[in-house]
Symmetry: C2
Subunit: 532 residues, 2 copies
């Protein structure tokens, strides 16, 4: 028996487009004499459809598309994900269709309701785990989370005689997830002595990147087929063939790089933009975002703008220019000195007898934000926000200033990781070199003369260690102190994180690459007097 | 037996402050010879604590506060809400404490996981519904949602012999909720022949306003005690006394007004601000927000700023000035003509050979936003955003422009309701009169010469009808067409709503007053190709 894994890139809400992709894959599968073709979780609606699921018409429309797909299954079997509705309850479901007949439907049993997942907001759990038969094989269908649970549906289906387990997934990327997923599925295949056909969605959807990398494990837990990472793929498993073990090759930085590139590409394209604009400060964050954008969209679709004030150093301007030249992107310099002066004059009366403070600094950041938005409004560029996770964590960023933009590609990337990514890019992509001077210079917001990030923040090596423990691992201050970092520094960082929820609540969407990103997976109250 | 309802205003995360309030109320109850005092849902942590619940130390700290409260219960019984943890599972719980002894704990059975609620993200459901005894009475404790469910815990406790049901709630306000809640509890009391002691939280917490208005219903379903609306209260029910039926007096506009005032007051105070600034455009939205702020914070804590450009009409400026005079607030005029001109000069080269469009219009809105934020950064004012629900719905607002601010008090108020609220205020509060010219003028963003809202939008009477159906009632286009509104108008409105998710995702928190507000209760994907 030949089973195809159609690792496709669906789009949330694009019932027509997603269905067309399914139909195309079925045709391809037929050509390749495949017996069964499998699609990722919630194929028809895209994942996660969120509150679209509360629209009755959306559910009906998705069912109509399923009917259309069934029509296309002459002489082939298909497992496709859709939203089922029975007695007014919704189910995250996958079909088993054979030769234009809907043989059965498997509902999802384990509904994730943590981090970015809200499935219990919408769905009801499966009441039973079924077995389907095809070509002498007994097949159990499971949906994403179902395979993550010990003594769960996969084990019960195996106990009921299944020799093949299909898992249709939409498992978002984070660092190291590939390894975790691979080990889990291998263990599940081995312990149950079943072949596992694992189809994972690929593509960017708002803050999530689904990384694909579908798998086939044999019934000894050996990886025998591996799909592409961060790209669509079409894999065929032949149950009559012998396979060697696939040699795995994890490259953490490469994965992060590809995740960020795909996240940008899909956000821009699926939202019908073509071009992006980035404010180039001369620092490493904007440099990295620009390089990622070039890899995602091509150099002709990326516009860099430097907006020097009297505080900006000549070095910063030169570096930005050199970066733009290295990348071959469109580049403009728009000095903001005149505008800043006009703000000073306008506010002269209001601000007399006050000391210069963050108000004056933020005006500069906000003027730059305004210019980027003016270019966006005039030329339909999407503004990419350049802030990193370390900054967002401690609020070292200006609301409506450097925080403006439709998408914040590196908002889940800690500063220390940004340097590693810059090195990775310079070592692997000679056409998009980030100038060394950008990498080597001391980080500065350049909002007042001589300002350095280190005036306001601990060294990034320290800051990032604490942030990782506090945000990603959920440790408290006492537990973090085990790192050997000065207690007052930990105190200050934790205070700043807790105190800047209001900024992050208004931040642009970013790409989740860690187990705990800011955004929909971290729901802290703004009004909150708890201090650990 | 005497039972007190301590209708208190807790703050999320303020374990110390909330516990102190509990202890004070216990002392007061003792003085009044009360046998049992009851507090609202999750008293110790405040509601909703959201992802604070994922911090193990937060849970431990909340348990320590419970121990402290138990110490204070000599010769009295107390029902207080807290987060229980058993075998690594969390429960939304209420205690039954008697004379310094924790007699028992009731967990919540029905965990709301819809709209703004995420309780299944954190909590496990109760396994049993208990009965406690006091002074010859049999008492069942239920928690919020538990009383909303037919054939739920209340019915089973009554069947098990309870003659008194206590419900500890954190039930947020929306229009008409008071009536719905009252009818529900009355029905529940009558059908089970039980006295119901209903304690509802009061206070603003981010986007939610809990309206208090606790109740006692007798076992015939008659309302016999009613707590204050939108204020703390301390009610005593004496089971030996006879009560007359309370005459209810619902006033929809008054309730909305009080909800908005309390929402502003608590957001500002709980976040440790004292003063707010509002940009006064001369229109009704900013006028209403300013009036609400005066009622919430006092006129000395409200700053109004007019920022005229060359497009602003003299009428607008005069109206703003008159409003400020009527209210007695601090008022400044900061003209932005110079700044706008400097933007034009700076962008001259970029914008040559282009037609003036939304880019130029938005620059004005964003300059105003910058000035408000500069005042905020300099003087520590919280900026109140003045946008209404109709605007946010169709994206008739400028990101980083009129959308700037820490809190958006009227972002769930449709434009047509804003006019009604203005009339309500003018009829009831002679000290905060909104000038008639503001109410009568045709709505305009004044971002280009002669601009009117009606150039871009259908009449608000039409727009709001469609928005109500589409957003609040979840109807589709076909269903909305039954209103008799032109299909192309409905089409346009629905398109705009769907298309502006990206703006709302970066909007300031607002106060929920309808069954479906934008914000945490409405989770739409931004990348979404579904068009109804």
């Amino acid at each position: 028996m030949k089973i195809a894994i159609a690792q496709i890139n669906t789009t949330v809400g694009d019932l027509v487009g997603n269905t067309n992709k399914v139909v195309d894959c079925i045709k391809k599968a037929k050509k390749k004499k495949v017996d069964l073709v499998v699609f990722p979780e919630l194929t028809i609606t895209g994942y996660p459809p969120k509150d679209l699921l509360l629209k009755a018409k959306f559910i009906n429309d998705n069912k109509k598309k399923l009917a259309k797909i069934i029509e296309e299954t002459k002489n082939i079997a298909v497992v496709v994900g859709f939203v089922d509705k029975e007695k007014n309850k919704l189910y995250n479901a996958a079909t088993f269709i054979k030769n234009k007949k809907l043989v059965g439907i498997q509902h999802k049993t384990h509904l994730p309701n943590y981090d970015v997942f809200d499935e219990r907001r919408y769905f009801t759990s499966a009441k039973e785990c079924k077995i389907f038969e095809l070509g002498g094989h007994k097949i159990g269908i499971s949906i994403c989370e179902d395979i993550w649970v010990d003594n769960g549906p996969v084990d019960s289906q195996a106990a009921d005689g299944a020799n093949i387990i299909i898992n249709v997934s939409a498992s978002p990327f984070y660092i190291n997830k590939t390894r975790i997923r691979r080990e889990l599925i291998s263990r599940r295949a081995k312990s149950n002595k079943v072949t596992i056909i694992y189809n994972n969605l690929v593509g960017g959807q708002d803050d999530l990147v689904f990384d694909g990398r579908s798998y086939v494990f044999n019934n000894k837990g050996k990886l025998i087929i591996e799909g592409k990472h961060f790209e669509e793929d079409f894999l065929i498993f032949d149950s009559e063939r012998r396979y060697d073990r696939v040699k795995v090759n994890d490259d953490c930085l490469k994965e992060i790089f590809l995740a960020l590139v795909l996240g940008i590409k899909d956000y821009v394209k699926k939202n019908k933009f073509k071009q992006v604009v980035v404010g180039l400060s001369g620092g490493i964050d904007s440099a990295l975002v620009t390089v990622l954008a070039v890899h995602a969209l091509g150099k002709d679709n990326v516009f860099g703008v430097s907006m020097p004030s009297i505080i900006s150093s000549k070095g910063s301007l030169d570096d930005s220019k050199r970066l733009a030249q290295n990348l071959g992107i469109n580049y403009k310099v728009i000095p903001i000195i005149g505008i800043i002066n006009s703000y000073s004059e306008t506010l002269l009366d209001e601000f007399k007898n006050t000391q210069p403070n963050i108000a004056e600094e933020n005006i500069q950041a906000r003027v730059r934000g305004n210019i980027l938005m003016a270019l966006s409004n005039k030329f339909n560029y999407l503004v990419l926000t350049t802030g990193n996770k370390s900054e967002f964590a401690v609020g070292y960023c200006t609301l409506y200033g450097d925080m403006v933009g439709g998408f914040a590609p590196i908002s889940d990337v800690l500063k220390t990781l940004i340097y590693k990514l810059a090195d990775y890019i310079n070592n692997n992509y000679p056409n998009t070199i980030i100038p060394k001077s950008i990498i080597l210079k001391e980080p500065s917001a350049e909002l007042r003369v001589g300002q350095k990030d280190s005036d306001s923040l601990p060294r990034y090596e320290i800051l990032d260690q604490v942030l990782k423990k506090y945000i990603e691992e959920g440790k408290n201050k006492k537990e973090i102190a085990h790192l050997g970092i000065d207690g007052s520094i930990i105190e200050e960082i934790v205070y700043k994180v807790d105190h800047n929820e209001f900024k992050r609540q208004q931040a642009a969407l970013g790409i989740k690459i860690t187990q705990k990103a800011f955004g929909s997976g971290r729901r802290m109250p703004i009004t909150n007097l708890y201090r650990d």
